[in-house]
């Protein structure tokens, strides 16, 4: 990063694994997809569509958000506020209220549930039926705004929407706020909700794995020869970023340093598909991150079971590393979206036992990437994010 060194001192996360990093670590240790049936009662889904979702289910978030406050929020805002409060708690901070606390979030779809409800009100009952409550919390930045209100964060308030690349782009944006000296704290991360309408639309674009005749094809299979698509998920991961010198001065426990970031784009990608320019993307990755790549000892991969996306990722990784470090595929467990990869990267730096997902037991020989099984104790992790539509981002996190 240009400027001040940026470190992570807190992580709040929730998702289909439950609440907190320990629950995520447990889920990654089991290696089983956290899938459950999607609600199809609204009639958006086609008969042969995907039927599973990695949903949060009923999480008790009352330790972080009062039921009264939660009633005024979309799931997206609720997830974000709870995760942000968890991050603060882990960072040992009672308050970050003030002008120098920024928020930088990513969301792929925003509050899709509220937007759908609002649109249905208008389309079915006319414009005058629109609910102002739904409208004000249906903008993509509502979650970041709610976090700011909850915590009194009056610095820059940023929300990125760049599909699967969003979490790392938001982390980069948040780190820039700290490195530049514009903020002393930044709550950075990703938050997503996965509602039936979004799920059904993703399915129509054939992004999701669908059931096969054996009833097993719907599982996410990163880097596996039988991969057929992703498992859509939801959740939130929020990291508390701060200046390393300031964090040390206050005696904070440092979870990771944001060493370097890279961003690129593949213009050959389709509007809803991955590109194929591994050479071009790898060239940017190398140009930006070369000084640190040699000591990368784990990769938290973007691989999700997407047919072409995983192939692109594999080719980039093979171009980047002569000998591949251990590759984690957390999306095999928690699905796509929700930022769980950020929390996984921190876990890998702290030491993590992962099980290779059973659905990934037939690695695609054409890809040459075998997900790690066993203990990962990394000192420097490369996080990767490739998005449908062409965007790409990478971040190196390291033990300081």
């Amino acid at each position: 990063m240009n400027g001040r060194d940026v470190v992570v001192t807190g992580c709040g996360c929730l998702g289909p694994w439950g609440i907190g990093s320990d629950a995520l670590a447990h889920a990654l240790g089991r290696g089983e997809p956290l899938a459950r049936p999607i609600d199809r009662t609204a009639g958006y889904h086609r008969a042969a569509s995907a039927q599973l979702v990695a949903a949060c289910g009923a999480l008790d978030l009352t330790p972080w958000v009062s039921p009264q406050a939660a009633r005024r929020m979309s799931d997206l805002s609720l997830f974000a506020v709870a995760a942000a409060r968890m991050a603060l708690q882990q960072a040992g901070l009672d308050s970050v209220a003030g002008d120098r606390t920024a928020v930088a979030f990513a969301t792929a779809f925003g509050p899709g549930g509220f937007t759908e409800q609002l649109a249905r009100q208008i389309l079915e009952q006319g414009g005058k039926a629109a609910s102002p409550f739904l409208f004000t919390d249906c903008v993509a930045n509502a979650a970041a705004g709610q976090v700011a209100i909850d915590l009194g964060a009056r610095g820059a308030n940023l929300t990125l929407c760049q599909r699967e690349a969003g979490p790392l782009l938001a982390l980069e944006q948040g780190a820039t706020e700290i490195a530049s000296g514009r903020a002393d704290f930044c709550l950075a991360g990703a938050v997503d909700e996965m509602k039936p309408l979004s799920h059904a639309i993703l399915d129509r674009f054939r992004a999701l794995a669908r059931p096969d005749a054996h009833g097993t094809g719907e599982l996410p299979r990163p880097f596996d020869r039988r991969r057929r698509g992703v498992l859509a998920g939801e959740g939130a991961t929020v990291l508390l970023l701060e200046d390393e010198a300031a964090a040390r001065a206050r005696g904070a426990r440092i979870l990771a340093r944001v060493r370097a970031t890279a961003r690129a784009f593949d213009p050959g990608a389709g509007r809803a598909s991955f590109g194929r320019d591994d050479q071009g993307l790898a060239a940017v990755l190398h140009a930006r991150l070369a000084p640190w790549l040699a000591e990368v000892d784990a990769v938290v991969s973007t691989a999700s079971g997407a047919r072409h996306g995983d192939a692109l990722e594999a080719r980039i990784l093979r171009r980047t590393f002569a000998a591949l470090p251990p590759v984690l595929v957390p999306k095999a467990v928690h699905g796509e979206y929700g930022g769980g990869t950020l929390a996984t990267a921190l876990l890998a730096l702290g030491g993590l036992d992962v099980a290779r997902p059973a659905a990934c037991d037939q690695p695609d020989p054409a890809l040459g990437v075998v997900p790690v099984h066993g203990r990962v104790q990394a000192h420097r992790v490369l996080c990767s994010a490739l998005a449908a539509g062409g965007a790409a981002a990478w971040t190196i996190l390291e033990v300081p």
Binding site: R120, Q121, L123, P132, A140, N141, G152, Q162, F265, P267
Partner: protein
């Protein structure tokens, strides 16, 4: 890393006033607004009937299944980069930084409407339904290989994107940035703002005593930004500089501005600090100026807090009076207007003849364009849902 000033070398605009800088600017100087009855969808079930939409016969780029917002974005971007060799864009040293708050929501509404009627609507436009649709389309259309990102912070989106582009240029990540925003009008947005009683039944009247709300608009505003050295090396004409960006959050309410304007003032001060400028250096303001009673009052207080007694003689305009509120693209089109004001040394007037609200204490540009001095610093402000504030400062280029 000091890479010198970041310069603006191209502009592109699509809005209700027209397609292309020349047409838009000519009509803006004439104080014409584009706020008319909506033809895009039926307004019979809505509380109001007006908006500044892009004419259906506008000469826009098109592609298979493109959403309206993608067409706006790519058309404006193509105009902005027309003097730049394609090779400079098809590079990892070029990036796209965009703002959008609705993506392709108009097309998504059409699809959902069909689905609720038991039919299957056209799927292709839904590929761009996410908010990154317009910006990603621009990147694909131009062949960019560097950073591409979309910010969706409601009405500040494009100003936030401009600030991010500035960061990327200053840190040396890239040499060229295509930055701005695009948004399309849709029923969800229209009904939503009406549900808040925030839409004026008449064309919006920012900073007037009788103001009663905003008028929505649609379109795109795009700037081509370069490092000074890159622009010099290719012999580009420099229009002005993007001097700084400032961001803040009210942390007050999900949709209403903090009444004292403290958050907006903090964003302005942050930009001035970043640019190394005193408030006295600012020669005009292109305000957020939505025309809602509370927004304009809060914004006036923010300007008073920063500029003090000088506020009474600091020319203030609002592009929204002419082109409506372009939401996530507002910062883009308003930065374009601000840059044009610096280039032509003229501030366009607000539409209409009603006098300014004396309670606000602003020097609102009315009736005719206001002449500017030879060297200028223009402030363009945006405030948004979530308490989001983002401003940019543009200034005359010192060769």
């Amino acid at each position: 890393m000091n890479r010198g000033p970041i310069v603006v070398t191209g502009l592109g605009a699509v809005c209700g006033l027209g397609t292309g800088i020349a047409a838009v600017w000519q009509r803006a100087l004439a104080g014409r607004h584009a706020i008319e009855p909506i033809g895009l969808f039926a307004t019979t079930t809505h509380r109001t009937t007006l908006a500044a939409t892009v004419p259906a016969d506008a000469p826009l780029l098109a592609g298979r299944g493109w959403s309206n917002a993608e067409r706006f974005a790519c058309t404006a971007a193509a105009e902005a980069v027309r003097t730049l060799p394609a090779a400079a864009l098809r590079s990892a040293r070029a990036g796209v930084f965009f703002g959008s708050s609705t993506g392709a929501l108009f097309e998504a509404e059409r699809w959902l409407s069909a689905r609720l009627s038991g039919h299957e609507g056209a799927l292709a436009p839904l590929a761009a339904q996410q908010n990154d649709g317009p910006g990603t389309a621009v990147a694909r259309h131009l062949g960019v290989r560097g950073p591409v990102a979309t910010w969706s912070t409601a009405c500040t989106s494009a100003n936030v994107a401009l600030g991010a582009a500035l960061d990327a240029l200053r840190t040396g990540e890239i040499d060229v940035a295509v930055a701005g925003g695009a948004d399309e009008l849709c029923e969800t947005t229209y009904a939503g703002f009406n549900s808040l009683r925030a839409v004026d039944a008449r064309p919006t009247r920012p900073f007037r005593a009788g103001r009663a709300g905003l008028s929505l608009g649609e379109g795109a505003g795009v700037l081509l930004l370069e490092t000074r050295d890159h622009a010099r090396a290719r012999g580009a004409t420099v229009l002005c500089e993007l001097a700084a960006a400032g961001r803040s959050c009210d942390a007050h309410h999900v949709s209403a501005p903090e009444p004292g304007g403290r958050g907006a003032a903090a964003a302005i001060r942050a930009a001035l600090h970043e640019a190394g400028l005193e408030p006295a250096a600012v020669t005009f303001v292109n305000a957020h100026g939505t025309g809602t009673p509370h927004n304009d009052a809060a914004e006036a207080k923010a300007l008073q807090a920063v500029f003090g007694a000088r506020t009474a003689t600091l020319p203030v305009t609002s592009s929204k009076s002419l082109v409506g509120h372009l939401l996530g693209a507002a910062g883009g089109i308003e930065a374009v207007f601000t840059a044009l004001s610096i280039v032509h040394r003229l501030v366009p007037p607000l539409a209409g003849l009603e006098p300014a609200d004396p309670a606000l204490g602003l020097d609102v540009v009315l009736g005719a364009p206001r002449a500017l001095p030879e060297r200028n610093v223009g402030l363009s402000t945006n405030l948004a849902f979530g308490g989001n504030n983002a401003v940019v400062l543009l200034r005359s280029h010192a060769p």
